[in-house]
Symmetry: C2
Subunit: 301 residues, 2 copies
């Protein structure tokens, strides 16, 4: 009985930021291994212009492959209507749209204010998409490398606007600025406004607080987490600092607490090996990979 | 107003396990820099047989130096009466005695059962020690590499016995086996029996849960933490896995949550540099050192 729902975002958030390119066949083998380890949902790629992010050029192919895997929810990122059309054509189960809560980040990234970006996503969501879930992902929800502080009222306002037309909303600590007190405070504030539409904590480990923040989110009632294998997706401005919270370590934390993720840690470590073999020069992280499970460790029932 | 009391244990727990030897002069400069950063308490060494642990041979000299530093509580470890006599002669403010809760670990380490070791410490505590605090440190309180599981009842029994004659009791996750749920459960159980004599969480980061465990301990009411700069004190059996929870990152976590440690993070990073320069080949860890504080970061008032 799964109590925590972990979405692996390595194939998207990780590889998008990797220096090395993972070949499509290796991506498929990796995605399959992740799914076979019991991960219920994978963000397999993004429909962005291939010229901008060549690593994501094979997303339609990866989606098509992933759709054949058993019990797997296949998610892609789309930044706009064109990306959404491609995601629908590919047959993804869920499409996630990033909206930065930081005005400076949003303007520098997409040349729109956060509120203008919300309207762009609204237009996408108004296009018929039978059976496909739409997720609004509030990025830089806990701070921004350009702007520094991101007002919590901005996060609440954007999340509330997205919840009008999205099935789910996630809050992302895109640059690893969050602390556990802030995580609890912001999830509580947003949850008060949008209720169960608030779903996923997308955390980074840039300052080492990834797992502590995940624990805080859990204690605040969050049951859906994004993470990436090996902590792929490190920030280029912080060499050596890992990127996303590390899937293997996150699974270990919850399982050791007796909270089931439905994921087999041993098989997950095998999937990690496939990833490392496919992009051997990419820095990867993770304490499980170094120290292994404790003697006598038992996964949650 | 300090809300969290952090004890730096790097000069003892860190250097004792380091491959490189830090010269006495460098130790002194490091200890001074740590104290000047606002750390209120330092475990500066241990009175163990110098033949066994040569890195600790200069402990009396370091204690004498540290006693001259302002507002610093000077702590040493002693494993037995002889060590305690040396600690008292040196003038340490506090002496900490390790007692392993794991029967196998205790027998293999000191050839005594945990209960026999408690009696050894009792004999030490019965020796007059005016003005000097005695601490019982329950090690392997959350698991053991030899024995695996350590029964929580054993931890409670040993902590209760130590509390009869110790001023303070600490619980140590010596090998990094603890998880946040266990931390809360065990601290609560022990606290019910010995009340405010239960003082310090000594956590390791072997499996990446150091900060999450510290957060859990904080939520359970713990306000005293051990940590080591750079995560010194890694387990030789887990290369790459850091040792003690990392002081810099621990300070950052609490300060970013608005909880004051009384420690100046910038000056702490300067102290770290002294340490790294003195043992340049030693593996050190820490996200603060890699990523720095977030833009707009403000320490707790």
């Amino acid at each position: 009985m799964r109590q925590i729902h972990i979405r692996e975002v390595g194939p998207r958030d990780g590889l998008q930021n990797a220096r090395q390119r993972m070949p499509s066949d290796a991506k498929k083998a990796w995605v399959r291994a992740i799914a076979e380890a019991g991960v219920p949902e994978i963000e397999v790629g993004s429909f962005v212009p291939p010229k901008l992010i060549p690593a994501m050029a094979d997303t339609a192919d990866i989606v098509s492959y992933a759709l054949a895997l058993k019990d797997l929810q296949v998610v892609v990122l789309a930044p706009n209507l064109k990306g959404f059309e491609r995601a629908l054509a590919a047959g993804a189960h869920k499409v996630t749209f990033p909206v930065s809560a930081s005005r400076q980040h949003s303007e520098s990234n997409v040349r729109m204010t956060p509120d203008q970006m919300v309207e762009e996503v609204r237009k996408c969501a108004q296009r018929p998409h039978p059976g496909v879930l739409v997720e609004g992902a509030v990025s830089t929800a806990f701070g921004c490398t350009l702007q520094g502080n991101v007002p919590e009222d901005d996060v609440v306002r954007i999340a509330a606007a997205l919840a009008e037309f999205c099935d789910h909303v996630s809050l992302a600590d895109t640059v690893g600025y969050a602390n556990p007190a802030q995580i609890k405070r912001v999830f509580k504030k947003v949850g008060k406004v949008i209720g169960s539409k608030l779903r996923t904590a997308h955390l980074h480990n840039t300052r080492g607080l990834g797992l502590a923040n995940a624990l805080a989110a859990y204690e605040e009632g969050v049951r859906h987490f994004d993470s990436s294998m090996g902590g792929l997706g490190g920030c280029p401005f912080a060499p050596g600092a890992s990127g996303n919270v590390i899937t293997e370590d996150l699974v270990f934390m919850f399982e050791s607490m007796g909270i089931s993720t439905g994921i087999d840690l041993e098989r997950l470590m095998e999937a990690r090996k496939l990833m490392v073999a496919a992009i051997p020069d990419e820095p990867v992280y993770g304490h499980m990979a170094l120290a292994g499970v404790p003697k006598g460790f038992r996964a949650a029932a």
